[in-house]
Symmetry: C2
Subunit: 451 residues, 2 copies
Amino acid sequence: MTTKYLLDESRIPTSWVNILPDLPGEPLPPLNPGTGQPAGPEDLTPIFPMGLIEQEVSAEPEIEIPEEVREIYKLWRPTPLIRARRLERALDTPAHIYYKYEGVSPAGSHKPNSAVAQAYYNKQAGIDRLVTETGAGQWGSALSLACRLFEMECEVFMVGVSYDQKPYRRAMIETWGGTVHRSPTDLTEAGRSQASHPSGSLGIAISEAVEIAAKSPDANYALGSVLNHVCLHQTVIGQESIDAMEMAGEYPDVVVGCVGGGSNFAGLIYPFVRANLRGGRTTRFLGAEPAACPTLTKGRYAYDFGDTVGMTPLMPMYTLGHDFVPPPVHAGGLRYHGDAPSLCALVKAGMVEATAVRQTEAFASAVQFASCEGIIPAPEAAHAIRATVDEALAAKEVGEERVILLGLSGHGHFDMSAYSAYHAGELEDLEFSEADMDEALGRLPEAPSIA
Amino acid sequence: MTTKYLLDESRIPTSWVNILPDLPGEPLPPLNPGTGQPAGPEDLTPIFPMGLIEQEVSAEPEIEIPEEVREIYKLWRPTPLIRARRLERALDTPAHIYYKYEGVSPAGSHKPNSAVAQAYYNKQAGIDRLVTETGAGQWGSALSLACRLFEMECEVFMVGVSYDQKPYRRAMIETWGGTVHRSPTDLTEAGRSQASHPSGSLGIAISEAVEIAAKSPDANYALGSVLNHVCLHQTVIGQESIDAMEMAGEYPDVVVGCVGGGSNFAGLIYPFVRANLRGGRTTRFLGAEPAACPTLTKGRYAYDFGDTVGMTPLMPMYTLGHDFVPPPVHAGGLRYHGDAPSLCALVKAGMVEATAVRQTEAFASAVQFASCEGIIPAPEAAHAIRATVDEALAAKEVGEERVILLGLSGHGHFDMSAYSAYHAGELEDLEFSEADMDEALGRLPEAPSIA
């Protein structure tokens, strides 16, 4: 009885899947917030290299992966596809549950898939230093690793409260040679203006990183989710999943992943979405988000800023309002007010479903998963596990041998304090405030209606 | 250019390699400390099941791995063999460096290889509960995982100071359903007698665990290293390494691993040792131990207790004295006063070499390894990395295409505070006291001389 499906490294994908030409409906370009006109490359050149800007707007269905990037992917890719037989037995379900595990990367999540690509294109453009922000630390550590592998410098503005609470993530970033700043700093105007908020926020940290990158000719900015090129890089996950499922002799009826900014879920499903659109497949896609930050299930489809303080182009997406502050759930990677525009377009068109999961339910399923499969999942991935369990139980209800593919985006080794809280019975289901959301939605920027 | 060599899971070994019949010299049995006579199975039945006792003394060269154990090994085995090409380039060495990575197990080290086997034989014997001790937490978490997979209870006596300093290891044990006690407890006589030492010690924790196991008909004790059956279970590492090296078309000139109690290193090298003895190979074997706890390089070859307080049979081994207290180096898994008797016999016979590594050197090499290969190693494994780097540089010196196999026993995700100390320049090279060692060696139990 086979448990793991491992592709040979010659089968690391040779191109990324660009979903943009397949998106339904009229193209909705990002808008320059000053002019209200479509944002062009010139809006992005101060902080991104042309290689990535071209990917951001490309109409090519596939984009070749540079050999140097594939060489680095070989350090951990292809990642394993594993049949969760013990979980199936525990649930007593006829469903077949497979999970694609991205936690085998050195940084412990899917994030290096894009970090390595972004470092490569910046290095090609003569950039020697990347600046970014990080909250929980997944993205900051992934970019630090990528920069080290390309012999570049990496500067990370880490949200103050995370900097204090997550010293081990910080040590990880430093082990790969990155520099970590406790944000807000006095290194930037943005930081100095926020000195009265010493615990910091992702919004402040983004502003600091962008400011440094925009001012420094040798430095660029790097973003870990949301943008088209980031989702693009993550499609190695879905492509490998298709090949490995073929080894297993199955094809998923439903694909489940967790959604924060959306890059993990997008990378998992876009190759399957294309197979639906072009290959006649009928797979369902289910994104799991925190009930405390229910962007896809409760947000409004509108143009909004990508960041909290309003520095980015306006993007068409489901949003809770760019200055809405989600409750501090442990799945820090899912605490984002919007979602990747490409993913939102698919949700809007009814081609992708979403579900909201409460964090106590997520952790209960994560502990069950760990008890069956061994791996202790990241809190983000725990949301997808809960949605998977619900799918498997629904399949049992109707007696269906449903094939479920779960994207397990990372391990929880740096999130054990959340498990401690769960075991101690101290984990709460944090509620978001509908009134706060309504107020935040009332502060959406002026832009054409798209709903 | 291939980087990873992955065996299909059908190639998980079907038997363990038992080195006992191949050991050089006269057999040296463990001795009952009361009678001075060879310890028999009856000395062990109160705390171990007969299946493991038979393995402890078996003369069979191979012992079949039960199918139930192999099924669980499939959750993470075979583990990858990886060519460290980027490290080779950084060292500018003609050596070929391969590493066998055990950190992909759910507990993050090689420990589950034996924990799963021990849980299985106990379950077969009708035992529903295992009791053990843990220092840094690697073994306690591995046994908790194994017990969960066989639906057994697991009770872990965790050294007080580790319990306080390593809450995340504790959360890991609890996530797999294990119960963790802060040792010394008031649950045992041993614990109550040590109430004046609230920070605890491994010696006290062992005493507590053994006491509970000896008194409880439904419970047994489990040990994570040193004993023959533990080393036996770990030989899946070396066997897979031989097969994967064959995929790579090479055979190691030298095999390097870290040595604490010895089970990781033994499991790595014993299949190669047999190939030397029976197959005419001439591979060298190099064990790396901390300079602060230099058992193999500075210890005396003598009969000594396996535990600190003197409850176990006397074992023939290199020892620093059973009550010698090594300095608190971060590689907690290497802080043991003795070593596996089987390994010591090979060292004594000159068939295995040992080297002592200072912890600042170990961490410097670990950071270089992480910068090249991505993976952040456990402090224990860092010692083996340093010895590997030294071998690779020696090969460069003489212009030799030396093939080096490194056993990378685990990742450092739960040891990042040590990396923080290293980055902050606060890591010290702790010295052990020769005077303390001499005194401890003066307290060796009465037993026949073997040196």
